[in-house]
């Protein structure tokens, strides 16, 4: 049933995107110039922006989420667990447009100063000086990554916490009996047992980060370019669809739907990879 729906969505969108695919051919996927008023549509900058912001989000969110989950499952006193985990779950209930507005009104103006400081500090270092080059406006790939990290943290946290809860008490106590400290116990008993589940959680978070639309559209800066400057503005696939769809027509609209098809394919790819990793992890465990 679900497969049928997914299949129908894929067919319907591809058909409406076909004029753009036919007009641009492979250039749609391989070129970097996106100029609706010249009817040139290269989607690569948006793929790049989507991947970069999602990666930033995961780099920020995964350690925090795993940390919170461990705290809740193995460290926190029992009476603290429920309130803290419902607080984290509450983060997931905030509508994404609220995150986006907070990002553009509160975070972006404030974080400009932080970015400028970081780019001052890193300016003598060869690679970092490019990554963190200024000046920044506060709206850009990294800010979008931060907002996305906030949005995926509750997802990754609640799933990893449940996975950690399934670790058999016996395995934990065996580790303690061998004289492990708490951290050694976590490394020896909790992590190996939960690897597949953790990867699954991260992949769910990744899917959320790649598909997030309105929050990204508000803070990402909206310029169709591939840049190594993480503090600079970029654009993501979902964001450009949200921004340009209303005023589009003809080939432009087809190209935007084409972006949707591409994003769809990309998320399916990520999910398949995740399944493969999980399946392999299961075999080893």
């Amino acid at each position: 049933m679900v497969l049928l729906i997914l299949g129908l969505i894929a067919v319907a969108t591809t058909r409406r995107a076909w004029p753009a695919f036919a007009d641009e051919g492979m250039r749609f996927f391989t070129t970097t110039r996106w100029a609706p008023n010249a009817e040139v549509f290269g989607s690569l900058p948006f793929v790049y922006g989507t991947v970069v912001t999602a990666v930033i989000a995961l780099v920020l969110a995964v350690p925090v989420s795993v940390g919170i989950a461990l705290f809740l499952s193995d460290v926190a006193p029992r009476r603290l667990r429920r309130p803290v985990s419902s607080l984290v779950d509450l983060l997931a209930a905030i509508p994404s447009v609220v995150y986006g507005l907070w990002g553009v009104i509160v975070l972006a103006p404030w974080i400009t100063g932080v970015y400028d400081r970081i780019s001052d500090i890193t300016s003598p270092v060869p690679v970092l000086s490019t990554l963190f080059a200024g000046p920044s406006t506060g709206r850009g790939l990294f800010t979008a990554g931060i907002i996305l990290a906030l949005m995926v943290t509750p997802i990754i946290t609640s799933i990893t916490r449940e996975v950690f809860d399934t670790v058999p008490a016996m395995a934990k106590e065996a580790a303690y009996a061998l004289g492990s400290t708490r951290w050694e116990m976590i490394r020896a008993a909790v992590f190996p047992h939960s690897r597949a589940g953790m990867i699954g959680a991260v992949m769910l978070g990744l899917g959320r980060a790649m598909g997030e639309t309105i929050a990204a559209a508000l803070v990402i800066g909206s310029s169709a370019r591939i840049t190594a400057q993480l503090f600079g503005s970029g654009d993501s696939m979902a964001a450009v669809i949200a921004n340009e769809f209303g005023e589009s027509g003809g080939l432009h609209r087809a190209a935007l739907i084409g972006l949707g098809v591409e994003l769809f394919a990309l998320t399916i790819l990520v999910n398949v990879i995740a399944r493969v990793i999980i399946a392999r992890g299961r075999r080893h465990a």
Binding site: M1, A35, A38, V104, A217
Partner: protein, 368 residues
């Protein structure tokens, strides 16, 4: 994990089914739900026959606040007619009219010749209001600033990067301009405002402006993008040295300062309802009532004036809907025009208004 995800698919599939159901219901809306109330047809309080229908529209967001005021006013005259206007952008409105899912579409731009055959028959342009697009800036105590098309083009293309550039100074003798860096703000979303602003630059600065026109253009990378007129206004307000194009009502609401712009006659004009009406007076109106008030002639004309239209099919197929549509459009271009000025839209000048009324009268409605 697997058991968990299997449990999740149930509600998910249900959700999809509900969403599809909702779409199905939406589609059913274009079958006429309207009926003319024949029994009570007669003299209403206004002396017009009482109508009963539901009219759906979508499209340009630029005139949306005027349309909302007009719809609220019309509801008092014809309580039996429900009028909806969904916004969504000019492109969406035109697409919806092509697909026949709306009764009228708002559009800031004209239909491209290549797209005309896609419509389900002949359609008409109904001019409604127009409004100026301001060039708003944030420059501390510089309260009075004059710009011309060439300079605006160079600023937005990042060829002029400082406020004390000789080109700006030459237009503002006697004004002390600071050496502040210019920050350019533009729309991140596709917009009829962007389209009209760039169309103006194409018309008025043909030798300088190279980015062409469109709802989305390729701005230089070192510019800033904001969502909607409010988003651009927010950047301008929050950034010293910023400049951006914002419609008049949002510029006023955000307390922005805006530049006088030199028009075709070489006069520096402040954006206002009066200077916009002057631009409409100076614009050449074609037989189909399409007109271009951008860079219009006339001493008092503000050059960056954006037009907007409602598109409707000339041949209506449903009597009740057709009658209601004509009556609503007539209200929009007559009584509602008085409401426009309060919210910073310019009403149609007399001559254009008369032509528009006869255009509305030419809409064909089937007799029972």
């Amino acid at each position: 994990m697997y058991r968990k995800s299997a449990r999740f698919t149930g509600p998910f599939a249900a959700l999809v089914a509900v969403a599809m159901l909702a779409v199905g219901c939406g589609g059913a809306d274009d079958t006429p739900t309207a009926s003319t109330d024949n029994t009570s047809a007669g003299a209403a309080a206004t002396g017009q026959p009482r109508l009963s229908a539901t009219l759906n529209g979508s499209g340009a967001t630029f005139p949306k606040s005027f349309y909302e005021v007009a719809i609220a006013g019309y509801q008092k005259v014809q309580p039996g007619v429900t009028v909806n206007y969904a916004g969504g952008g000019s492109g969406t409105g035109r697409q919806n009219l092509q697909d026949g899912v709306v009764d009228y579409a708002g559009s800031d731009g004209l239909v491209k010749a290549a797209d005309v055959p896609k419509y389900k028959g002949e359609f008409l342009y109904i001019p409604t209001v127009s409004a100026p697009i301001t060039v708003s800036y944030n420059l501390g105590d510089v309260k009075d600033l004059t710009l011309d098309a060439d300079t605006i083009a160079k600023i937005f293309q990042r060829q002029i990067k400082k406020w004390d550039d000789p080109a700006i100074s030459a237009l503002n003798p006697g004004t002390r301009l600071p050496a502040t860096d210019i920050t350019v703000a533009h729309r991140s979303d596709g917009s009829g405002t962007t389209e009209n602003f760039t169309l103006y630059l194409v018309a008025a600065a043909p030798n300088t402006w190279t980015l062409k026109s469109g709802a989305t253009v390729e701005w230089p990378a070192d510019t800033q993008a904001g969502n909607g007129n409010q988003g651009v206004a927010q950047i301008v307000k929050g950034t010293a040295g910023a400049i951006g194009y914002v419609d008049l009502s949002d510029a006023k609401a955000s307390g922005l300062q805006f530049a006088k712009v030199k028009n075709k006659a070489g006069k520096a004009v402040v954006p206002s309802v009066a200077s916009t009406t002057a631009a409409l007076d100076g614009a050449e109106v074609k037989a189909d009532l399409s007109y271009n008030p951008l860079n219009a002639a006339g001493d008092g004309a503000y050059p960056i004036t954006a037009p907007t239209w409602i598109l409707v099919y000339k041949n209506q197929t449903d009597r009740a809907k057709g009658e209601a549509l004509k009556s609503f459009l007539r209200y929009m271009v007559t009584d509602a025009q008085k409401l426009a000025e309060d919210i910073d839209y310019a009403p149609l000048p007399k001559s254009l208004q008369e032509k528009t009324i006869s255009q509305i009268d030419s809409i064909f409605v089937p007799t029972p």
